[in-house]
Amino acid sequence: MALLSNAAALLGKELRTEFRSRELLTTTVVFILVVVVLFSFTFDPTSIESRRFGPGLLWLAFLFAASLMLQPCFLREQNNDTLSALRLSVSDPFGIFLAKLLANTFFLLLTEMLMLPIFAVFYNVHILPVFPQLVLVLFLGSLGVAIPGTAFSAISAQARMRELMLPLLLLPLLTPVLIASTEATAALLDPNPALRADWLGFLAGFNVVFLTALWLFGEYLLEE
């Protein structure tokens, strides 16, 4: 399938570009770290309260970091004038979006997994027994952030004040992702851990809806 091979090639390019400088990853990790530390000043992270507030704070930190991390996604193309070249290189414009959203999901997931052990230490939560399930929640949640996020990166690139517009457009829309991911994470960090299939199913549904929307409308997002 031309779409998949195009997307794979572009995905490779996105990953190579980032791993050459690693500036996006490092700044994002440090940003989440700063947010997590600042949050710890707003309440006393004893074990009970950590379990109550921790998952929510963690996902808030991820959301804020993501809305910063997603900025360069299309801005880079715009600044370097590579968007038309990108469009010519693929037969289906959805390939561009597929590559970018997979790259963004991967970067998000990477930063989240780097943050998890730090979070566990600072907030005294046990992540090891539920680690694989946590990764599943992180994956579905990150996908949920990256799909609309990639689309809105293309939209905000057209606007003034784009650094503020992207979070403004993205964060209210991500309310369902925040709720579902926080609930699923909290259930896993509970003394009796449970995997919330209903919230995970909801996240999967969310991802399907917006992936379909991106597939239907992606070509218009790339218009110049």
């Binding site: 057209q158 606007a159 829309l173 709720i179 609930e183």
Partner: protein, 225 residues
């Protein structure tokens, strides 16, 4: 000028009619007393706002596929009017809650959903103000509007599930409980009146956009001369 006065007159008639329904026709509710009458403003506003946002979604879709300016005009008009109705919901809610529950706000399912909806459509309007080129503005705000509308049922369900698992005092529930026929009729008629109000406001705003396009056209002509 005459059209404006006529519009204002219709507006006034609608107000008087709904006020009459709420205060004279509908009986006083047993448990809550007079404060319940705020619902005749609160609930129909909510339904009408959904109608307006549905119109906005349709207009957004039409613009993306047809690229005719009139769909962009309809989209922004419906979004602004929808936002006005949502604002009424958000203001009447706390005014009702304060004497009854002693608090101004609570994060119950309906109010939270309404607030997120308000934020989404404020973002839509803000986005429009940040794009100067009219064609780009129309296209990209329409695309955002489509995504935002698709999100609405997802926001609704996630907040509902979340709230059923972490219940709060149901502040605005019980609106449908114990509905006497006169109350039901009042709700329905107020909603019809509000729909008429919505159409009036959208029409006025649409004509404003159409006039803006005329001015642009005329300005270009004068520059050519």
């Amino acid at each position: 000028m005459l059209k404006t006065v006529a519009g204002a007159a219709i507006l006034f008639v609608l107000i008087a009619f709904t006020a009459y329904l709420a205060f004279n026709y509908a009986p006083v509710e047993r448990t809550m007393g007079a404060i319940q009458k705020i619902f005749y403003l609160h609930l129909p506003s909510a339904f009408t706002s959904f109608l307006a946002l549905g119109i906005c979604f349709y207009a957004n879709l039409m613009y993306v596929f047809r690229r005719q300016a009139k769909w962009d005009w309809l989209g922004v008009s419906a979004a602004e009017v929808g936002l006005a109705f949502i604002s009424v919901v958000l203001i009447t809610g706390p005014i009702w809650a304060h004497p009854v529950w002693g608090i101004w706000w609570t994060w119950d399912a309906r109010l939270t959903l309404t607030f997120v909806l308000w934020l989404l459509y404020i973002s839509y309007l803000l986005l429009r103000s940040m794009i100067e080129d009219p064609d780009k503005r129309a296209l990209f705000s329409a695309l955002f509007g489509i995504f935002a509308f698709l999100d609405v049922p997802l926001v609704y369900f996630s907040i509902r599930w979340w709230r059923t698992q972490h219940p709060q005092p149901v502040i605005l529930g019980g609106a449908g409980s114990g509905l006497e026929p006169r109350m039901r009729v009042s709700y329905l008629l107020v909603w019809v009146a509000f729909t008429g109000l919505m159409i009036l406001l959208i029409k006025a705003r649409y004509q404003l956009e159409a006039m803006r396009a005329d001015v642009e056209e005329l300005r270009r002509e004068t520059e050519v001369r």
